[in-house]
Amino acid sequence: MSSPTGPAAKTERLLNLVLALLYTRRPLPKSKIRDIVPQYGDAASDEAFDRMFERDKDELRELGIPLVTADIGSVWDDEVGYRIDQREYALPDIEFEPDELAVLGLASRTWAHASLAGPAADALRKLKASGIERDGDSLVGIEPRLGTSEPAFEAAKNAVVGQRTITFDYRRSGADQVATRRVQPWGLASWHGRWYLTGYDLDRDAPRVFRLSRIVGPVAEVKRAQEYAVPADHRAREMIRTQVGEEKPRSATVRVREGRGNSLRRRATSTTDGGEWSVLKVPYADDDALADEVSGFGADVVVESPPEVRDLVIRRLQGAVKAHGGAA
């Protein structure tokens, strides 16, 4: 038997509550619910039960379970009752053809290795709950996969979908300082393998594009922010394409040890060999991406310019030394 207070007992209590509220045709008063769901009988007092029940209601609603309250009082009291409407609760009974399930399966697998892998698999499982199993042979041989490795992804996605104003620290491309931004999120898009947030920047008073990987630290919701609407003609991808796509490629000068840094050598627009080291001019569009690449080469590649990329690399290396218990 599970312990009466452990997580298993709580799941049992919540499931009994869901079953009772789905089964009933009339809204059930709290007193009745306390009788039906045995785990509520363990509550030490009326107050303890009330607190437990309030929390349980909130948690069910957070799961998307449409728990409704109705006035069931008579003339002399105003008691409320609770129930879950089966039609509101259940996924509509929709039949999917095998080829439709095949593309849905592919859509779900796209997220198989991203932070949304769980919801993607659950969604497909729900759609296939009653469906006859016929695997999507027609889609053999193709497999798209998405990554959501940016730490800010989850919070940004929730803000976009829930239309909530957020604030975060952001490091602009080519800039060293981190600035706090307040943004009304409009959209989120993956473009060339990177995630971008579009929205209205309340401090700059203009629409802006933010790269998620440049958000530093946590993303917080702005409390009591004004409501806003996403412009009807907003297309996140178009905005990113025009703003980011036109970021002028710049040129970095790097010193590369003989036979090393081959990915940089390949892209170099000019190479000056000089004994142990070569000096390369490398075109790049993004400070962080170049700093990541160069940091990975350790002592085999040194950035001469621009100073902001040089500093980003030094900071990464110092961070690595410090994290490993040394002074840097």
Binding site: P7, T11, E12, L14, V18, L19, A20, L22, T24, I36, P38, E59, L63, G64, A90, D99, E100, V103, L104, A107, S108, T110, A112, H113, L116, P119, A123, R125, K126, A129, S130, G141, I142, L146, G147, T148, P151, V160, V161, S190, W191, H192, V230, A236, R237, R266, D292, S295, G296, G298, A299, V302, I314, R316, A320, A323, H324, G326, A327, A328
Partner: protein
């Protein structure tokens, strides 16, 4: 999902997460009465022990506590039966994230050039919108572009070759040698990883499986020759990234800050423990500490090697040597 991830998921499952999982699992099992226990666990992405524990819990639940009001769950003889569960025999509506993953995924597929399933995608999308209502609208604000950097004709040809087991002749630019090569390949799979398309297959020139970036394929010709790869040809594990670990490779323990936790999603790890602050302690096997050093330099303090200490020292010493090349005082070397 790797076994390690499954275990990690089970360890963090809250009571409410488990409820959500059960509400999805019951309709699935009700429609598959008598399904083999192990098969069910496999398809549900959980261990058989977990499934048995779930069934034991279901057995205790009902809309009342009279015997005829309780759910009946049986799994003796290795076959699962869930009855008297009409109340929750339909799955709960798709949650916001659930609807979002499918809608965004379908829309991305619809934009892939040369994909033949456009009609099925459109029908699936219409039904899904009907089933999800408002969530579908919110999902339209998240977009994924996987349709760039590849020519429609080449993508369609590559896929046709995979489906029909036909050999292809490639003209391929090898970046490391900066030379154009000609080779015959028996294609096995077309994949898109973070918006970049790749063709994987058995390369007759290398006598091994190889991955070709499609934007470096300058010409692809589908030959009128059978292209069934050798039976022992192994596809690369896409999650393995830079390396494929073996059971006897040395075990490394890393500590990752919350913002570096993507590492455990990206690379195959043996175990993950997530602390309350979101930081992780992960173990992984790798024969190649060079790869690991590079990763940790890039992370710039977002992670460190807990064990073995030799590897931690290598990372720190390498970073110091690099700092010295910048003329930055790297501080004292690591003790020991």
């Amino acid at each position: 999902m790797s076994p390690a991830k499954q275990r990690a998921k089970g360890a963090h499952e809250t009571a409410t997460d488990r409820l959500a999982r059960l509400l999805t699992m019951v309709p699935w099992l009700v429609a598959r009465q008598g399904i083999d226990l192990e098969q069910a666990a496999g398809e549900l992405g959980i261990s058989t022990e977990q499934l048995e524990a779930d069934l034991r819990l279901l057995y205790l639940c009902g809309y009342g506590q009279m015997p005829d009001e309780l759910i009946d769950a049986q799994w003796e003889g290795g076959r699962v039966f869930v009855t008297n569960a009409e109340t929750i025999a339909r799955p709960l509506r798709l949650g916001r994230d659930e609807a979002l993953t499918l809608m965004v995924g379908l829309r991305a597929l619809a934009a892939v050039p040369g994909l033949g399933e456009r009609d099925a995608i459109e029908r699936a999308m219409a039904k899904l919108e009907e089933a999800t209502g408002a969530s579908a609208e919110a999902a339209s604000r998240v977009e994924v572009a996987i349709d760039e950097g590849v020519e429609a004709g080449m993508l369609a040809d590559a896929r046709r070759a995979v489906e029909q087991h036909r050999r292809v002749h490639l003209t391929y630019l090898v970046p490391s040698r900066d030379e154009s090569t000609e080779r015959d390949v028996d294609p096995m799979r077309v994949v898109n990883l973070d918006s970049r398309w790749y063709l994987e297959g058995w390369c007759h020139r290398a006598q091994d499986t190889r991955t070709f970036r499609m934007d470096r394929i300058t010409a692809l010709e589908v030959l009128d020759v059978d292209g069934t790869p050798p039976a022992d040809a192994q596809l690369r594990d896409l999650d393995a990234g830079a390396f494929t670990p073996r059971a006897d490779d040395p075990l490394v323990t890393l500590h990752l800050e919350p913002w570096a936790a993507w590492v455990s999603d990206y690379y195959p790890v043996e175990s993950v423990e997530t602390a309350d602050d979101g930081s992780q302690t992960v173990t992984l096997r790798t024969p190649d500490t060079q790869w690991l050093r590079r990763l940790l330099w890039r992370l710039g303090g977002g992670g460190y090697v807990v064990a073995p200490t030799e590897v931690a020292t290598e990372v720190a010493d390498g970073a110091r040597a690099a700092l010295a090349a910048y003329g930055v005082d790297p501080g004292a070397p690591t003790a020991g």
